[in-house]
């Protein structure tokens, strides 16, 4: 499902170098390094409290890390360390090349604004001013996430949980980001809705060639979505590699425990 070409000399889209986030004396995540290439989807798994969401938020600029670098290959200036860039520049990145899909859709949506408005807001943030075009794009994206455009003027508070999550994805992807951070995107949804969402995410990743970092505790989700996998425990990355290699032939004791603990369906 990846769109990367596997060329040796390709520039990584993002390089994370020795990223560390402490909560006082306690470790959030420690010394995490990896390169993410264009079109790659990376999964981060681990039990709750393992530091996976902390890592995601530190990479996305929601928490300031204690040390380390998050170098992103920006369109205008090439690789830039986003931890040291100015706040307005980082916010601009967050509205354009980056997208963040929250576990709870209500954290990523404006609940009192219409569905169309939620999608249109991001377009206006990057300079969209023509109301008719914004509305057309909003309607187009509602269709792509399988929400009827007759719901365009309804508020997300009137939507089901699965619809809210799909609306959040539409809102995030409408500006054509190159990197999407996702925190448990299918968590809390029932399985039939999860399947729809997985199918949708996979086709969007392939069609738009975007890269994604997905935090989840669901190994079945990463097997279907992620090219690569990182396993975290107590704030450290204990194992990383090709997704099916990590799941089929886990090397670390913790990963072996994790993989062997999954109930067979």
């Amino acid at each position: 499902m990846s769109a990367s070409t596997g060329e040796q000399d390709m520039t990584p889209l993002m390089q994370v170098k020795a990223l560390t986030k402490m909560y006082g004396h306690r470790i959030g995540c420690k010394n995490v390094s990896f390169d993410l290439y264009p079109g790659e989807v990376m999964g981060i798994v681990g039990e709750s409290g393992s530091g996976k969401s902390t890592l995601l938020n530190a990479m996305a600029g929601h928490h300031a890390p204690d040390c380390g670098e998050v170098v992103f290959d920006t369109r205008a200036d090439g690789p830039v360390d986003t931890c040291t860039m100015s706040e307005p520049a980082r916010r601009m990145l967050g509205r354009t090349d980056w997208a963040f899909v929250h576990q709870h859709a209500r954290d990523g949506l404006r609940m009192s604004v219409s569905a169309g408005g939620n999608i249109g807001e991001r377009l206006m943030a990057v300079g969209g001013r023509h109301y008719g075009e914004i509305r057309d794009q909003a309607a187009d994206w509602l269709g792509r996430v399988e929400i009827s455009d007759s719901r365009i003027d309804d508020r997300p508070s009137d939507f089901s949980g699965g619809m809210q999550q799909r609306l959040q994805i539409a809102r995030n992807l409408v500006t054509g980001p190159r990197l999407v951070f996702m925190d448990e995107p299918t968590g809390g949804l029932d399985v039939s809705v999860q399947a729809r969402l997985l199918d949708l995410l996979r086709s969007l990743v392939r069609e738009m060639g975007l890269s994604a970092i997905i935090v989840t505790h669901d190994l079945a989700v990463v097997r279907l979505l992620a090219d690569r996998l990182m396993v975290m425990k107590d704030g450290y990355v204990v194992e990383s590699g090709l997704t099916d290699q990590v799941l089929d032939d886990p090397q670390h004791a913790y990963t072996q425990l994790l993989v062997s603990s999954v109930l067979q369906v």
Binding site: M1, A195, D199, R206, D227, L242, D244, D249, Q251, Q256
Partner: protein, 227 residues
């Protein structure tokens, strides 16, 4: 095309007292383009393990696993992903798909991944599904609801949609009737004729003798029991 050199494999079970189980040693195997090599050996001898070592979902403990000019034992994940997209196909015994995706799209996906247009990919997928006797009314349904034999045929169609230069076939004919088995054999022959290097596991002796140019008994790779 495929060349294994002094490959060994062991499993370390950390949660069972760190027990180390050696499963294969000194594996040497070469498969040329246009050649089909059959793996034989008793159940549990390591036929599937050997395939997974080549496909990269098992990590070799030592040795080189060359597919084309990439050493799978040392390659970065994205190199293996590119290899699987462009060079190395694998028909496993089980179909693993995203629920809700239509059979036709499941089969067309490997073609779309290498940049083939929707129309061409779907045409190829349709002709393969027809050849493998999957009724057209099922094409728009998710194969998760299909019978075991139908799922296996969808899996085969997917494996042969794109012309991989190297192919791993793990019991592709296991639960098929004579007619479908003949179709699979024709597909394998076709792949050989266009120069694909193939490693296969076939339980049925007649099938095996028909498509394989030679056999490798994997039990010779079992670690020697210490005296």
């Amino acid at each position: 095309m495929i060349e294994l050199e002094n490959v060994s494999k062991s499993f370390t079970l950390h949660n069972q007292g760190g027990a180390v189980i050696p499963v294969m040693e000194r594996v040497n195997l070469t498969v040329a383009p246009g050649e089909c090599v059959g793996l034989v050996g008793a159940s549990g001898a390591g036929k599937s393990t050997l395939m997974r070592l080549i496909y990269g979902n098992y990590l070799a403990a030592a040795g080189r696993v060359m597919v084309g000019d990439l050493d799978v034992a040392q390659a970065a994940p994205r190199q293996i992903i590119a290899l699987r997209r462009e060079t190395l196909g694998y028909v496993s015994q089980f179909l693993r798909v995203v629920p809700r995706v239509a059979a036709l799209d499941v089969v067309a996906e490997p073609l779309l991944a290498v940049g083939t247009s929707q129309a061409v990919a779907r045409d190829k997928a349709a002709s393969l599904l027809a050849e493998l006797n999957i009724p057209e009314r099922l094409w728009s349904l998710s194969p998760t609801t299909f019978s075991g034999g139908e799922q296996q045929r969808v899996n085969i169609a997917r494996g042969f949609a794109y012309d991989y230069p190297a192919l791993l076939l793990d019991e592709p004919t296991a639960s098929l009737d004579a007619k479908n088995r003949a179709t699979v054999l024709r597909l394998v022959e076709g792949a050989k004729a266009r120069g694909a290097a193939i490693i296969g596991i076939f339980h049925d002796e007649a099938t095996r003798d028909q498509v394989c140019d030679r056999f490798v008994d994997v039990s010779v790779f079992s670690p020697q029991v210490a005296a």
